[in-house]
């Protein structure tokens, strides 16, 4: 063991926002740049690392734990694109058991067996289900696990609500040595006002935008072929967007405590934006129909 401490980051975001896609592309870009990377999917669906392994599912830590009395963490680690270590926490079927406890158990197992040190990993990325509904899903941001948290959010209000909830979790754990916020990865940025909304939210919560990722057909095509954009379309503009993002994350050192909005502030903020959007819409309408 080298004794080197890996850089551990956690990526949160509302379900379906493009979190796993973004995370897998970051992992791929980092691996391409020569880093030893582990991607740790923390979602009972256990599909975070699919595009790193040609669309293939891998057995999860909890599948293995359920099958035998003693599990060697190595059995839960599978190699993906350019040697990325892929791990899925897994969890119960929808509607039964406690997925949060599953995440805690899976993270504990790898920590306990000192796998990161043994494999001499440079960067561990936890890809976590975004709504921090219970303590289990907050485990990667608690003391001793990840140091930096990034959130993937679109300009969609529900995605921003989920990001704000995450900020509340970070604020809470920041007093006890938990992870701090690195910034927002702004996803599906198609129009200038999408960017304005997310910029405004970042400013209000005293954080930063790490990268603007436009919505792109290239990503969809790559996903459908079971690969990341980095692998399937390495020369595309979108791949370059992910490379810049990955570089920023690799170089990122200073995270902060965000200032989460309280529910009332958040409501006021979103209704302010709703009015502005109506205005933008009306202006566009006036342009299309000249008097």
């Amino acid at each position: 063991m080298s004794g080197k401490k890996p850089k551990q980051i956690a990526i949160y975001g509302k379900g379906g926002i493009g979190k796993s896609t973004t995370t897998s592309n970051i992992s791929a870009a980092l691996a391409e740049a020569g880093y030893k990377v582990m991607q740790f999917g923390c979602d009972p669906k256990a599909d975070s690392t699919n595009t790193l392994r040609g669309g293939e599912y891998i057995p999860s830590v909890l599948d293995l734990l359920a099958g035998k009395r003693r599990v060697d963490a190595h059995e839960a680690i599978f190699l993906g694109f350019k040697g990325i270590y892929c791990v899925e926490a897994g969890g119960p079927a929808p509607g039964v058991g406690c997925a949060g406890r599953g995440i805690i158990t899976a993270v504990e197992l790898l920590k306990q067996q000192q796998i990161f040190e043994e494999l001499d990993i440079d960067i561990v990325i936890y890809d976590v289900l975004g709504d921090v509904v219970c303590g289990g899903f907050a485990v990667p941001i608690r003391e001793g696990i990840a140091e930096h948290v990034f959130t993937v959010s679109s300009a969609d209000f529900m995605a921003i609500f989920a990001a704000n909830n995450l900020f509340r979790g970070i604020e809470k754990y920041s007093n006890s040595g938990g992870a701090l916020l690195g910034g927002i990865i702004a996803n599906s940025m198609n129009t200038p006002f999408h960017q304005q909304i997310i910029d405004d939210f970042a400013e209000r919560t005293k954080t930063q935008i790490v990268q603007y990722v436009p919505r792109s057909l290239t990503v969809t095509q790559a996903e459908l072929s079971g690969r990341t954009t980095i692998e399937a379309a390495p020369n595309s503009a979108q791949a370059e967007v992910y490379r810049v993002l990955a570089r920023r994350i690799a170089e990122h050192t200073e995270s902060k405590v965000p200032v989460a909005l309280n529910p009332e502030q958040l409501r006021e903020w979103s209704s302010g934006w709703a009015n502005q959007l109506v205005e933008i819409e009306r202006a566009a309408e006036r342009e299309r129909v000249p008097a």
């Binding site: 909890l62 058991g97 406890r101 158990t105």
Partner: protein, 458 residues
């Protein structure tokens, strides 16, 4: 059953009396109600919980409390799913199904009651669907969700009772049998003397001409009594609050009326009052009277003999008492001590955390302890605070009488008091059939109080 969430003050412990932590408990957690099931003859609880839950509860309730034993189907007999991390993460319904299946093959009982602990209740196991599968096969199984965080074993008792009524006792809209009564009173096992007390209450009720579905203990016929619940003329709730929810439920379910008497009768005075009230409600005042007269005749002959000792003993008899017990015993014993022995209350604490909505009634009962004497009552669960109250109480110039639990052993030495273990946990007692209620129990209680008093000088 959902009870109100406890309020937690934000100030630090020590700065207030309700900071949340309590020491030296005076009840068990909700799954302690496994012993409610075990208290019914030929009924076995099946515990779906983590390792240690069932064992701790029954050891506390039936071992450290009167050394009562777990019973025919409770304690160490009760099967357990022994849920671990696997059942937390993936849910424990498959494990429960396997456990019930195996139980039905190996154990013989008239009814099995699945009680759940914190693990299945927290992760949301659909225990109902598992148990309904067995019910549809005709297996005598019911389920009660009794996770420890839901409340104490008093709460659990009501949940188990409700589960048996709703899942096992058939729907009934036939005629009711005059003179048949369902008794809802002391909490089995929690009350150290429940077996003997229920037997004495049954004797009194039969004495005045009623037939009783006693429901719990050696003097009950078991599940046949439970099945006869809907046929009863009325429900009798003989306790300040426990059983009231059940009686209200039965009123809704079967249109069955109920009579609520907060005072469990101890001694001739209370027994006469209570039995006359019950007889009037049941419409059997005529048959009741001769029994009461005969019981009083015998009772006062014993008291007459006792009065010589009482008036002539010169080495210090108590004049005032402190009591720390559940609402039922606190009220019943306070009334007896005051109205039949002439002892004044110095400190009264109710320890079973009664639901907020019933507390005013309990306070009112203590304010009307006798026609010329009132007492304040405090609701405390923390033994540190309870002991503070007893230390601060004014016992006059006579030795303090403490009607409490084993937790008061050291305190009794400290204040040179006379301790009678009448409340949970009564660890320095071995209790089989002894009773403290009715006519006979009152005399036994009197013997205990004054035997303990005279032994001080031995």
């Amino acid at each position: 059953m959902v009870v109100a969430l406890k309020t937690r003050d934000t100030t630090l412990p020590g700065a207030n009396e309700h900071a949340g932590s309590i020491e030296r408990l005076r009840f068990a957690c909700s799954i302690g109600a496994m012993q409610t099931a075990a208290a019914i003859p030929r009924v076995i609880p099946i515990t779906h919980c983590g390792p240690g839950c069932a064992d701790k509860q029954h050891n506390a309730l039936s071992g450290a409390n009167g050394n009562q034993g777990g019973g025919w189907g409770g304690g160490g007999v009760a099967p357990s799913s022994n849920a671990t991390q696997r059942e937390v993460i993936f849910g424990g319904t498959e494990r429960l199904e396997e456990l019930i299946e195996a139980t039905l093959q190996i154990l013989e009982a008239d009814l099995f009651v699945v009680v759940t602990g914190c693990i299945p209740d927290l992760v949301g196991d659909d225990v109902g669907s598992v148990v309904r599968g067995f019910q549809s096969r005709g297996a005598p199984v019911v389920y009660a969700e009794t996770g420890g965080f839901r409340g104490n074993n008093f709460t659990g008792h009501e949940v188990v009772t409700r589960a048996i009524i709703d899942q096992f006792v058939d729907a009934y809209d036939g005629p009711r049998e005059a003179g048949l009564v369902n008794l809802w009173s002391l909490l089995p096992y929690q009350n150290t003397f429940w077996r003997g007390d229920l037997a004495e209450i049954k004797r009194l009720l039969e004495g005045i001409g009623l037939r009783v579905n006693l429901l719990f203990g050696p003097d009950s016929a078991g599940v046949s009594e439970w099945q006869a619940i809907p046929r009863a003329q009325f429900n009798l709730v003989l306790s300040p609050w426990l059983g009231l929810d059940t009686a209200k439920h039965l009123e809704l379910k079967y249109g069955q009326p109920f009579l609520h008497i907060p005072q469990i009768p101890i001694g001739a005075k209370a027994a006469g009052e209570v039995l006359r009230e019950i007889a009037a409600f049941a419409g059997i005042s005529d048959t009741a009277e001769p029994f009461i007269v005969e019981e009083e005749r015998k009772y006062y002959l014993y008291i007459e003999a006792f009065s010589e000792f009482y008036s002539q003993y010169r080495w210090g008899l108590p004049a005032r008492f402190a009591i720390a017990a559940d609402a039922a015993y606190a009220l019943a014993l306070s009334k007896f001590a005051l109205r039949q022995l002439g002892l004044l209350p110095a400190s009264v604490v109710v320890t079973d955390n009664p639901p907020i909505e019933y507390r005013d009634t309990i306070v009112a009962e203590f304010r009307a302890l006798d026609h010329d004497t009132t007492s304040e009552v405090e609701f405390l669960e923390d033994s540190y605070l309870i002991h503070e109250r007893i230390r601060a109480a004014d016992f006059g110039h006579k030795p303090p009488l403490i009607l409490g639990s084993t937790w008061e052993r050291d305190l009794a030495k400290e204040i040179k008091g006379i301790l009678l273990e009448v409340a949970f946990p009564a660890s320095y007692e071995v209790v089989l059939t002894r009773s403290n209620v009715g006519y006979r129990g009152a005399l036994t209680l009197l013997e205990q109080i004054y035997s303990t008093t005279v032994r001080r000088t031995a």
